[in-house]
Symmetry: C2
Subunit: 191 residues, 2 copies
Amino acid sequence: MPRVGLNQQTVVREAARLADEVGFQQLTLAALASRLGVALPSLYKHVRGADALAQKLAALATAELATEMTTAAVGRSGGDALRAMADAYRDYALRHPGRYPATQRVPDPADPEHVEAGERAVGAIFAVLRGYGLTGDDAVDATRALRSALHGFVTLEAAGGFGLPRDVDRSYHQLVASMDISFRSWPRTGG
Amino acid sequence: MPRVGLNQQTVVREAARLADEVGFQQLTLAALASRLGVALPSLYKHVRGADALAQKLAALATAELATEMTTAAVGRSGGDALRAMADAYRDYALRHPGRYPATQRVPDPADPEHVEAGERAVGAIFAVLRGYGLTGDDAVDATRALRSALHGFVTLEAAGGFGLPRDVDRSYHQLVASMDISFRSWPRTGG
DNA sequence: CTTTAAAGCTAAGCTACTTAGCCAACGTTG
DNA sequence: CAACGTTGGCTAAGTAGCTTAGCTTTAAAG
């Protein structure tokens, strides 16, 4: 039995590719093993099991998403930064339909890279909101609002939840424009 | 073997209760059968299988949610209606953590009750937005925005995605207040 | 060359879903 | 009230997926 030469990184990366092809829910250890050319139990030499694989995939996807969000906002501010970041967010979800759902897993405190990736993603949003003068409790509320809007939209879109023929790109831009208006006149609490 | 006297409705209703207790993902035919006091394969006399059960549960939950949204908005308009409906939406998701995820399934065209329930839910949002003077393409965009915001928020909340200590109720109210502002100054397209 | 850690394997068992086919309870009808 | 047919229950058996145990062989290190 010649060795294939796997390690945790190769396994997780291939899982990410496979998930994008077949969907996050359809990502199975059997399919992954066959794709990597090994028997299923061999995967256990590299990941603790199906749940641990999902967690590592979450860490990978969250890191990628955080990077794309940060990159998009660099050198911009205000509505410009908001639009660029929102577009990057949705682009990532559309380009990586299998990885995106993984990013919703709450970071595992035992995985520093995962925690750091989550902080980077939230931090990117925080930075954009600072450009609107939002800080403290207001920034927390606004961050939750923005995350909710973006996540909700791409989730509904991916689920096929937008039945009507109206152009989805346009609806997304309108949503982002409305968030821009909201942030400029955010109902302040003085936090 | 004395008969238990099940039918599709009893099975689906019990599935809904069970889902709220253990979670939508943990809803299993085995657990449901044991709860109903029958052997697992007996369920197949009432539902076509696990996927069909999930679909029927989706129809039930969507109908319940649509009713609560509609009821909440009755006799109100504008921001008043928006707040009442949004509160009803989140209340439902919090009271029924197992049913709520089921509502995200796109209605089965072969199930008229499911289709009708979906139309009622979207119609309820449409009606509220008409109070803001939003119609046509603007109403479609605004409906998608509102659905995205509400769905995204309750989904992130249920997933434990809001790590910071800031009060979640308050964040939700701020989100709804910001949507109110958005709808009043919606970036019109003239649709 | 020997030794050893680790990467692969097979075998076996678990849970969950599904299908097939049997039997008994119940409602209907003569 | 007896016979009958429908149907709701059952057991048995097969599939897919995850996991553990324990063996073998590769390949690197001494």
